[in-house]
């Protein structure tokens, strides 16, 4: 691998990167610490996590967040997949990509406000669906880019082979491409879930009376102050995000180009 220096040679740069990462993660530490700090005599306790389950508002927000995350994790990657395909298949790749990346350029408040106006005018009441729509909008560019990236790693030779064997475009996609990009699709799913579980600004504008975990934390912070149980909730969010990110990393490990079993199937048709 030309140009890539070995680890020990580049340690000053790694030091800087390490410092930057510590700087970025530093604010997360107090939340984690406070979530397990004991009261009075005890130093360390998991009590707050247990207490969380007994706060009815938290449970409601948890349920809402779970349902929305499920929906977003399904809808955004599917739309992202379709978008990636449309960039490849339809005539206007740059325009489509631009439109798909649009949500990245709109500040959260503006996006939420715009959607709220739309729903208001159409007389659509705030519901989990409105929240889902806003979050899908935000997750869409990421999902699209992830799937686009992995699609580019698929050597077109496999698809060509499929077409040569008589498969229709659709068939080739299902049997050849989909299995190859599956890790990317699952990566897009986990990324979308991360985004959904953490999304606050856009959600808070269209949520009406519904609460998700992040908006619940925000409104409690503003109105009655945080408590150790809330810190436990924050710790859970952090841990979930890290776990999903780890999952994403695992899925998108570099793989050696493997023999694709589907090719043999395609040739049998």
């Amino acid at each position: 691998m030309t140009g890539r220096a070995p680890f020990y040679r580049t340690w000053p740069m790694w030091l800087i990167i390490g410092a930057t990462i510590s700087f970025l993660y530093m604010p997360l530490v107090p939340a984690l610490l406070l979530s397990v700090r004991g009261e009075g005599a005890e130093d360390f306790t998991f009590r707050w996590f247990y207490e969380l389950w007994h706060i009815p508002l938290v449970l409601k927000a948890l349920r809402a967040t779970a349902m929305i995350a499920l929906l977003v994790g399904l809808i955004a990657p599917i739309l992202g997949l379709l978008a990636a395909l449309s960039i490849r298949e339809l005539r206007l790749p740059r325009l489509i990509l631009l439109i798909m990346l649009l949500p990245l350029f709109i500040p959260g408040v503006s996006m939420g406000l715009a959607c709220a106006f739309l729903f208001r005018l159409l007389d659509v009441p705030p519901s989990l669906l409105t929240i889902t729509i806003v979050q899908v909008l935000w997750a869409l560019p990421f999902a699209t880019l992830i799937i686009l990236t992995i699609m580019s790693t698929v050597d077109p030779v496999y698809l060509e082979a499929a077409y040569l064997s008589g498969a229709s475009r659709w068939r080739a996609f299902c049997d050849i491409e989909l299995p190859l990009i599956a890790p990317g699709v699952f990566g897009a799913i986990s990324f979308s879930v991360i985004i959904s579980v953490n999304e606050t600004v856009r959600t808070s504008v269209v949520q009406g009376a519904w609460n998700t975990i992040p908006t619940y934390i925000w409104s409690t912070y503003k109105q009655i102050g945080l408590s150790p149980a809330l810190y436990a909730l924050m710790a859970l969010v952090i841990l979930l995000t890290v776990a999903l990110a780890g999952f994403y990393l695992l899925l998108n490990r570099p793989k050696r180009p493997a023999k694709v079993p589907a090719i043999t199937q395609a040739s049998e048709m």
């Binding site: 508002l57 349902m67 659509v124 669906l129 009406g208 409690t220 503003k222 109105q223 102050g225």
Partner: protein, 388 residues
Amino acid sequence: MHKFDRINRRDALYLGLTGLLASAALHVPQSRAAGTINFADIGVGDPGGDWSKFTAATGYGVNLVSMGNAPSAVLNVLVAGGGQGTYDIINIVGGMQKPLVENDLVVPIDTSRIPNWSKDTYIEEFLGKGKPGFQFIGLNDKIYGVPTVLQGDSFAYLPEKTGPLDSYAALFDPKWKGYVALEDNYTTAGQKTGLYLKKAGLATINNPDDMTKGEFKTVIDFLIEQKKAGQFRVIWNSFEQAVNLITSKEVYVIDCWEPMVFVAKSKGVNAVYADPKEGYLLWAMAAYLVNNPSRTEEQTAAAYGLLDFMLGGWYGAKITGLRGYMTNPQAPEYAKSNSAEFSAEDAKKVEEITANVRRKFQQGGTWQNRWPTEVEFYESEWARFKAA
């Protein structure tokens, strides 16, 4: 084999799954049939999640939904599609009758259906018709809100750093320059400043609770001057932030709410809520009955039951203990006589708080005005203050 066989099946599976999930997601979890009252509250009215006493007495459960205190939050809950059909009672800081009534969002309260109303002497004493407090619960001689909580606000300080303080002048005292914090709210910070300026003779203000454009401009000019001199460390707008400012001793004098002092004390920081000679900023919570023509008679009766419950002894004692506000006269006696539910310590606390707040009301001050006549002007002036 037909080209579309597998696709159709897979498609159907996908669609079915999504449809199932979508319908599950859209299914509104709150059931109206099984006797539940939908109660939107800003966090103050929640007695720790325990409505069992009410349910035992009436058979109705209470579904508490938390909402913000800003006018937009109220709008979101009530107007933004279907809110009127979903909620029975909203419990917010009073004084919002004008916009609510103008938009047909709430209905007048029939106080004869609330037995505890007449037992709550505070209502007549402080919020009776003709008295300034009436604007918290009524409009045009009709009652719209049930005052479940009453309180007088001032400011907090750290006595070890400042010694005893007894006037709002402390907020503007150059001695504490850079160690003062104000609330980001023109109806509290703005009005307290108005009260101070009037009593100190620094400005001609007729009614701090409904200032004219010119009067409020004077207040803002004064605040901007102070801000430019570096008097304020921060303008806070979250409960947690205010508590942190006290417990971390980031500021010594802070315009805030009394519960924050309680929380700070519980964290071991000695903070005192001041008794300023100019008086207090008085306010009351008001539980409004949402206007819903299609609500059944039973549901409305149950809602009245909840309103009555909130003016009762157990609820009052619970809220006083949890939040530090005064509720109703029955609360201290209830706490004392029900040692099974309230420890002697709790009962004493309830009694002390109630006595303290009563004293504040008797001293008087100015009633917080949540929807001043010149509210738009207040808004833009406050924005001018923040941007300066």
